[in-house]
């Protein structure tokens, strides 16, 4: 992989020649693969022929100095993230690669990406009972508690493995997986070698219990990481294992999904070299009948961060996935104070109810009304600090805690009600009220507890066939942080191609009157089939973007942006 990387600080013509070389390499490798496939599998030609497919995306932005918001000018003026995936499939074989270019990386995503390369390339064979992949691959065991390699370009996360993955389906309802690999770290690999195995059995299929209504699936996984110990003071465990077991039961509209995980001592930068083992349990119960649905869930974890390097920080080299229990809010102001899982310990609960009032009833109106109620709360776990026994070789459990204990400190809480209602043939509406409390003091070490009340109203009017106008109004009221905000947005769309949108976020409640700023944005876009282009200009406020409880900070910026994407 390393020889494909072109460092961004090289002069442009060198980059060009390198790019050409890379392109040539790609074309020739694909030629080889293609020829190999056609000669090897010509006998299958009639039923399964080969094909290419792929996608492409580019996001670029200019960064101008904005003395009002304090946004900085980028020395490069324009920054860009882009990638293209290419896949070739021939019968049971697939080969693919992804070319990525960050020249230089957009602000808010680690500039360790700066450069260009082919960090993702694989070869895969898949038959009904056996599948293997060599090269780069993504994988998830169960809910991801013991292992999850995934990509999220918006967050700048890509912790794909480079190595070997085998999946085997020896009997109907029985699924086995095994992998060995190192994880991607920008254009390099992390130091840890990861070995993982997972088994899942769907009892009804495995034992031909077709007539039994209750569906039961059991699973278990074991993941081990090897990283050499070169620490002069501490004796660090070189092989660290995590294991998890899971259960899923489903009957009619009722379902329960649960997973328990245990991690052997793993002193790391995340847990400040705590030698204590980690534990986690997560359960979701859902029930649905008619137009009613509900989910309740609980989760408890202690010291469960697991990465393929002990010293990794931020979103680097994450080996497992522990999603936040709170709801992922869609609109910008409700998502202003998002919560991310505290990997060193937290206890949380959630409940969500969906109910659709039927059409042509008193409350349901002509078209019916969907009501969603959501509640979540996360506390610390109860811990007692332990003294250091030996300051020369400080191998110790930093604290003790008991399984499922709950601490006194509230980390996060939110409650919200959403109402979705179609008012007439041409008017659709959405309203939401929310209360959020975010313990920034505990999580970020500043600003105390932030409490906010939020309102969202969103109406869409069909003006004439294919023309629609959407109007959005959001309020956020808080005494802490930057005070009150209002967001107004107007969007005019002409199906199937065009949209134009105006958004203004106004920090009218900022206690510093010089900072009562407007963050405006103008955007327009054109879509045709799977090709899309969008351009915009405006100010972006400093904030946090979170997906799945994993977050990144976005600094304030002002400038033009352009996005182009295509799938082929």
């Amino acid at each position: 992989m390393a020889n494909y990387i072109v460092k961004s600080n090289l002069r442009p013509f060198i980059f060009l020649t390198h790019s050409l070389k890379i392109m040539r390499k790609i074309v020739y490798s694909l030629a080889l693969v293609s020829i190999a496939f056609s000669s090897l599998f010509s006998q299958e030609e009639d039923e399964k022929k080969g094909h290419f497919s792929g996608n492409f995306q580019i996001d670029a932005q200019t960064y101008m100095e904005d003395t009002i918001t304090g946004a900085d000018k980028a020395p490069e003026i324009m920054l860009m993230n882009s990638y293209a995936n290419l896949r070739y499939t021939y019968g049971k074989l697939t080969a693919g690669l992804r070319f990525e270019s960050y020249l230089n990386t957009l602000q808010g995503i680690s500039n360790a990406y700066d450069g260009t390369g082919i960090p993702y390339k694989f070869f895969n064979y898949k038959s009904d009972e056996l599948e293997f992949t060599v090269g780069n691959f993504y994988e998830q065991f169960g809910s991801g508690m013991s292992l999850r390699a995934y990509e999220d370009k918006t967050l700048g996360i890509d912790n794909a493995f480079e190595g070997v993955l085998v999946r085997h389906n020896p009997h109907k309802g029985i699924y086995l997986k095994g992998l060995v690999g190192k994880q991607r770290l920008f254009f390099d690999l992390g130091p840890g070698i990861v070995r993982g195995a997972d088994a899942e059995i769907q009892l009804n299929e495995a034992f031909k219990l077709d007539s039994v209504e209750t569906q039961i699936t059991l699973g278990g996984s074991f993941v081990s990481r090897y990283q050499a110990d070169r620490n002069p003071i501490l004796k660090l465990p070189e092989n660290v294992a995590i294991m998890a077991t899971r259960l899923s039961v489903q009957r009619g509209g009722f379902s329960i999904v649960s997973e328990y995980g245990y991690k052997i001592n793993d002193p790391s930068a995340d847990n400040l070299n705590n030698y204590q083992p980690g534990q986690a349990i997560m359960s979701d119960i859902s029930f649905t009948k008619g137009t009613f649905g509900m989910v309740v869930g609980g989760k408890w974890l202690n010291n469960m961060s697991f990465r393929s390097s002990r010293s990794a920080q931020n979103n680097d080299l994450m080996l497992n996935y522990l999603p936040a229990i709170s709801k992922n809010h869609i609109y910008s102001l409700p998502a202003m104070y998002p919560y991310a899982t505290q990997l060193n310990g937290e206890a949380g609960i959630k409940a969500e109810i969906f109910y659709r009032l039927k059409p042509k009833t008193l409350l349901g109106g002509k078209y019916g009304t969907l009501i969603t109620l959501n509640y979540s709360r996360v506390q610390t776990i109860d811990t007692t600090n332990l003294p250091m026994l030996d300051s020369i070789r400080p191998h110790w459990n930093r604290y003790e805690t008991s399984f499922l204990s709950i601490g006194d400190e509230r980390l996060y809480e939110d409650i919200s009600i959403d109402i979705q209602k179609k008012l007439s043939k041409r008017v659709k509406s959405f309203f939401s009220l929310q209360y959020s409390a975010y313990n920034r003091q505990y999580i970020e070490g500043k600003d105390g507890m932030i409490e906010a009340f939020i309102f969202v109203g969103d109406m869409t009017f069909s003006l004439k066939p294919k023309h629609a106008l959407r109007a959005e109004l959001q309020f956020l009221s808080t005494k802490q942080d930057y005070g009150d905000w209002v967001t107004a947005a107007l969007e005019y769309t002409v199906s199937p191609h065009w949209f134009v949108a105006l958004v203004d976020q106004y920090n009218f409640g900022n206690s510093d009157s010089d900072k009562q700023l407007h963050y405006y944005m103008v955007r327009t876009g054109y879509t045709k089939g799977a090709n899309r282009i969008q351009i915009g200009y405006g100010r972006q406020r400093q904030g946090v973007i979170c997906i799945g409880g994993v977050c990144r900070m976005v600094p304030a910026s002002t400038g033009f942006n352009i996005s182009i994407s295509s799938t082929f």
Partner: protein
């Protein structure tokens, strides 16, 4: 042999590539990937079928507003579409383990009668080269992708229906 650096070798390979493509290239079929049914069973995407009638595959997520708008709009017309063309709509939820448990109750309370599957680690999404949700594919009776669309704005479902009707 493949490590040869000689230009003639490259030229040969390049020509072979073009001819291999000309011989082999066909419209894309549904790739074979394991996804989950709503009851937690493993399901292979190569088995997605509608007995020779068109199929719509829509990638969505419970947290994605335009996705939900698109599926709601399709839902409003689904009975008519089915009567006229026999089309089947398959909704692939890309919700990960954070929100996967929401999918079944959410779909039910919405009253959607689509076939719904979960792709929690984006494996099917990746195999279909989906960059962002919503992304909708239209497949003909032979399972070939004949049209696809990314994003959703109000009224886009009419274009989709026009494309479904063209298949007949």
């Amino acid at each position: 042999m493949f490590k040869s650096k000689q230009p003639a070798m490259y030229k040969f390979l390049f020509i072979s590539l073009i001819s291999a493509l000309a011989l082999n290239l066909t419209a894309q079929n549904i790739p074979s990937v394991e996804i989950k049914t709503m009851s937690g069973k493993t399901f292979n995407t190569a088995d997605l079928t509608n007995n020779g009638k068109p199929i719509v595959i829509s990638f969505w997520a419970t947290w994605c507003k335009p996705c939900v708008k698109e599926l709601s709009a399709i839902h409003e017309n689904y009975i008519d579409w089915q009567e006229e063309t026999g089309v089947k709509v398959i909704a692939i939820s890309t919700d990960d383990s954070r929100s996967m448990s929401r999918v079944a109750p959410y779909v039910n309370s919405k009253g959607w009668d689509f076939e719904v599957y979960c792709d929690p680690n984006g494996e099917f999404k990746r195999a279909m080269n989906v960059a962002n949700v919503p992304h909708t594919f239209l497949l003909d009776g032979n399972g070939k992708i004949v049209w696809q669309h990314t994003s959703y704005i109000d009224g886009d479902e009419e274009e989709l229906f026009e494309k479904i009707k063209e298949i007949k």
